[in-house]
């Protein structure tokens, strides 16, 4: 899976390139996003193309969050479709992720955090 990566200041934005994330490609996502998680601590995952996610896909997202948290980083999500948002709500994952409507809002949230931290 070819994950597009953009660098905006110290924030990295990774865009998931698939419209369905399920048992058939969740492992692939985990494998291909691993180097990005390694290399970054402030990550936004842009889910704009995604229209469907099942529990395997949600599991993959949770694993991303845990990996980043383990090394003191943070992950934010943006641009969830209505259906994908509903899947997050279904399992209460919207309570552990910071979810934003747009990519800019997610980046801004990191920047505000950064300012506060300073």
């Amino acid at each position: 899976m070819e994950i597009a990566v953009d660098k905006i200041g110290d924030v990295t934005v990774a865009t998931i390139p698939v419209d369905e994330l399920d048992a058939s490609n969740a492992a692939e996502l985990k494998r291909d996003i691993a180097p990005i998680l390694e290399a970054n601590t402030r990550l936004v995952i842009d889910l704009r193309p995604l229209q469907f996610v099942d529990s395997s896909g949600l599991g993959a997202m949770l694993s991303c969050l845990r990996q980043l948290s383990a090394k003191g980083g943070d992950l934010k999500l943006c641009c969830l479709s209505k259906q994908v948002r509903a899947a997050f709500e279904l399992v209460r994952m919207h309570r552990i992720f910071d979810i934003f409507g747009t990519r800019d809002e997610a980046i801004r949230a990191f920047q505000t955090q950064g300012t506060k931290a300073q």
Partner: protein
């Protein structure tokens, strides 16, 4: 030609054109090439067009007014055939008949070719269907939510007296009534595990992970109210796999396994469970129940959110009725959505849930009260089990506060039964989660308060109430008995169609010789019809002048078809051994299905058939008695039998039948009831008067007392009454099973057992006396017909319009409206 006549001709022309158009453009054939079923489809589609316009107009009207809406959740909707009913309610049956005549076809034949939508077992499902008719007729925004079973209740065939079950693949030829709504499909997760975590604020955050996903696809069946001014829908869900195939498995080369998984997902809505089947512990049934609940609640919340931004308004805009415990998971599902997905606090969510939900209990039989093993519930719905435990914890705290350390009380009221394995009591869940708990007849509601849930009643007396069942007169008189409907309308007008109390006006005609003669003629013609059906299906010649003694309902021990057979045997043996002639020639008509795994009920069918075979072949009895077990009882068959009945058998053991609705349908069609003081029989008696009904048997209080004191002595009855002895002995004599010796010996033991829960021998003598009285009365034609007229005249209370109006006023807070013509 006046304006009205021209309009009528136009209506006929329009329908004819519409039918032709659908034949050509929907079915791709010319009219003359259509099969009978295709003709039905073309007519149904033409009718559906008219309903569609009105449904859209109704929805538009409701959207503007934003009224409170009712959602009726039921695992069964026993719709039967729809064409005739829709034509009646739209007021276009005559026009349609004429249009078809112009096309060289017969409306009744086309109506007859429609398969029954047998999405229910009996009373509970048919009640739900009657309620939808009343809601639409009264203009109350109310919608049914159910399951689109691919296979309805099995078809019954009788082979040498034994019931054989055949699958009822009613959807196979495609039904013209359903409108698929794939755009409103919803996700239904099941299985998985709970991952215990913390949220962003450090709070406990259980996450439901690794579930399997089903898709619920809605199919709407339109429901036209009488006059067609409001058209609602019944939303039935089919399960679909979330993907065509699991592509991973497919890519790994295991194509068959991928297909199998897809089929397994779609199995959820494959088949309706027969009632009385042992379903406890059956994972598929639990999955079915949750599937219904998940789809319905998701859809209800979606609709609410279209027009409202805060859930504070939810219970003022939404009422949900839980029809028996099958949809009781609604309590946990609504809590889950409000707490997990909508971020409401537990307290806010609980208040909304309780204010929104109401529960109807339908049975006191302990074996019919649903319980689910905790390990199974945890396996299928892990998050819901957590929620149920939390509801229980908070509830038991409340109970404990007033219980003075009465741990036994806590154990009885708990949602969890401390058995091995532990079980979730679904009735307790429904009671705790609802603001209203109702029974379906007065005696039944009293039994709920005193026997089923006395401690809950003491805890929340204000929540318990009665709503005596009802039936829709549009189907059960106007449609099924056009001769009687026309006769009534010619005398008192048509107001009774929407206000059944107006039938009271017939009381004045009860002694009118002319009206009596007309009613007699109508009944006779209906009996001729039924006699033809009996002859066609069984080759039995039923005499339309004989008393048609009818017991049609599910076959079950508590309904006591056996007691009826014992009377028949007594009549027969008295005739051939004592030369005592019956009071009147009778045709005994039975119909009903036994659950496939219910051995006793299937034996009763065999007994009826064997007794019938002996009697029907005995020339000594041929002038006096015939016994007919008509196979495959279903709504459309009931529609043929009920108008022809003289005597309605409602003889359940007192205290066992929640209400019954067959009793109401038969009385409305001019049958006189012979019955026990059980269910709604008691209220029918109050309405029609004891002089117009044959009441017999132990009352419920006495039955209870005998049970408690263990004072039943069947041998004493046996020894005291030689007639009874002869009947009971016949079960061990092989008289009715010459080719299968000892087949019915179990009945001899069973009715002489002090543990016979249905007290056949105690009620036998009073039953025989009541039957004798009925027979003698039937011979006095004027008196009998007067009774029949008064039964019809006094059925006003038993309209489902009355029932639904009470629910709306006292439980739902939903209002009716009179839409413009």
């Amino acid at each position: 030609m006046n304006g009205r006549a021209i309009a009528a001709v136009d209506a006929v022309f329009e329908i004819e054109e519409s039918i032709r158009r659908h034949a050509k453009y929907s079915l791709g054939k010319s009219w003359r090439d259509l099969s009978q079923y295709d003709k039905f489809r073309a007519v149904a589609l033409a009718v559906r067009d008219r309903m569609m316009d009105r449904m859209l107009a109704t929805e538009q009207r409701y959207r503007q007014a934003d009224p409170k809406r009712l959602y009726y959740l039921s695992i069964e909707f026993l719709i039967g055939q729809s064409l005739g009913n829709n034509l009646c309610n739209l007021g276009i049956r005559d026009s349609c008949r004429q249009a078809l005549s112009n096309l060289g076809a017969d409306l009744e034949e086309i109506e007859g070719s429609e398969p029954d939508a047998a999405l229910g077992n009996g009373g509970l499902g048919r009640l739900a269907a009657c309620f939808l008719d009343s809601l639409a007729t009264l203009g109350m925004p109310g919608y049914g939510y159910g399951i689109n079973y691919e296979y309805g209740l099995f078809k019954q065939e009788i082979d040498n007296g034994y019931q054989r079950e055949k699958p009822d693949n009613w959807l196979a030829p495609g039904t013209p009534w359903q409108i698929a709504r794939p755009d409103e499909a919803c996700m239904v997760p099941m299985y998985g595990r709970i991952e215990h975590g913390v949220d962003r604020h450090g709070g406990y955050n259980p996450m439901w992970m690794d579930w399997k996903l089903l898709i619920g696809v809605p199919y709407d069946m339109l429901i036209a109210g009488y006059g067609g001014r409001a058209v609602h829908f019944l939303r039935l869900y089919s399960a679909r796999s979330s993907h065509d195939f699991d592509m991973q498995i497919f890519n790994d080369g295991d194509y068959l396994k991928a297909v199998e998984q897809k089929i397994a997902s779609e199995t959820i809505t494959k088949v309706l469970y027969p009632s009385d089947a042992v379903i406890a512990g059956q994972e598929l049934r639990l999955a079915q129940e949750y599937f219904l609940v998940a789809c319905a609640v998701r859809d209800i919340v979606r609709r609410f959110e279209q027009n409202h931004s805060t859930f504070r308004e939810f219970s003022s805009k939404v009422a949900i009725q839980i029809n028996d415990t099958h949809p009781a998971l609604t309590v946990a599902e609504l809590m889950r959505i409000l707490v997990d997905e909508k971020n409401l606090s537990w307290e806010q969510a609980w208040k909304i849930t309780q204010e929104t939900l109401a529960y109807t209990n339908h049975t006191l039989l302990p074996e019919a009260l649903e319980k689910w093993p905790v390990p199974l519930l945890e396996h299928v719905l892990p998050r819901h089990l957590q929620i149920i435990y939390e509801i229980n914890r908070r509830f038991l705290e409340q109970v404990e506060a007033i219980s003075d350390g009465d741990n036994a009380r806590l154990a009885r009221m708990s949602l969890i039964e401390e058995s091995t394995p532990k079980q979730v009591r679904m009735a307790n869940l429904a009671i705790v989660g609802s603001h209203s708990i109702n029974g379906v007849s007065r005696i039944h509601t009293e039994s709920i308060k005193t026997s089923l849930a006395p401690e809950f009643f003491r805890f929340w007396p204000e929540r318990f109430n009665n709503k005596t069942n009802g039936i829709t007169q549009r189907r059960w008189l106007l449609k099924v008995n056009p001769r009687l409907a026309d006769l009534i309308s010619s005398e008192i007008g048509t107001g009774w169609i929407t206000d059944l109390y107006q039938l009271r006006a017939l009381e004045n005609l009860a002694a009118d010789a002319g009206f009596q003669a007309e009613l007699d003629r109508v009944k006779r013609e209906n009996k001729e019809n039924l006699a033809r059906i009996i002859h066609d299906s069984l080759r039995i010649k039923a005499d339309p002048d004989s008393l048609f003694d009818v017991q049609v309902k599910r076959i079950h021990a508590y309904k006591r078809q056996l007691l009826n057979v014992m009377h028949i045997i007594d009549e027969y043996l008295s005739l051939i051994e004592d030369r005592k002639l019956p009071t009147v020639p009778r045709t005994y008509v039975f119909a009903g299905k036994a659950a496939p795994g219910y051995w006793l009920a299937k034996q009763i069918i065999k007994l009826i058939c064997n007794v019938g075979s002996v009697i029907n072949h005995d020339t000594r009895a041929s002038e006096w008695m015939k016994v007919a077990f008509i196979p495959d009882y279903r709504v459309s068959l009931a529609e043929k039998i009920l108008p022809a009945a003289d005597l309605s058998e409602q003889i359940s053991t007192a205290g066992t039948e929640a209400s019954g609705t067959g009793n109401m349908k038969l009385a409305l069609n001019g049958a006189v009831t012979i019955g026990t003081l059980d269910g709604a029989n008691i209220e029918i008696l109050e309405e029609v008067g004891k002089e117009n009904m044959f009441v017999f048997g132990l009352p419920a209080a006495e039955v209870r007392s005998i049970r408690e004191q263990k004072s039943y002595r069947p041998w004493e009855h046996y020894a005291r009454n030689p007639h009874l002895k002869r009947v009971v002995d016949s079960f061990s004599s092989n008289l009715f099973c010459p080719h299968e010796p000892d087949l019915f010996a179990w009945i001899f033991s069973s009715v002489l057992d002090a543990n016979d829960e249905h007290f056949h021998l105690a009620d036998f003598t009073p039953y025989i006396e009541a039957q004798e009285k009925a027979g003698n009365t039937f011979r006095e034609r004027g008196r009998w017909i007067r009774m029949a007229i008064l039964n019809v005249a006094r059925m006003g209370k038993f309209s489902s319009d009355r029932t639904v109006t009470e629910y709306a006023r006292e439980i739902w807070g939903v209002k009716g409206s009179t839409p413009p013509d």
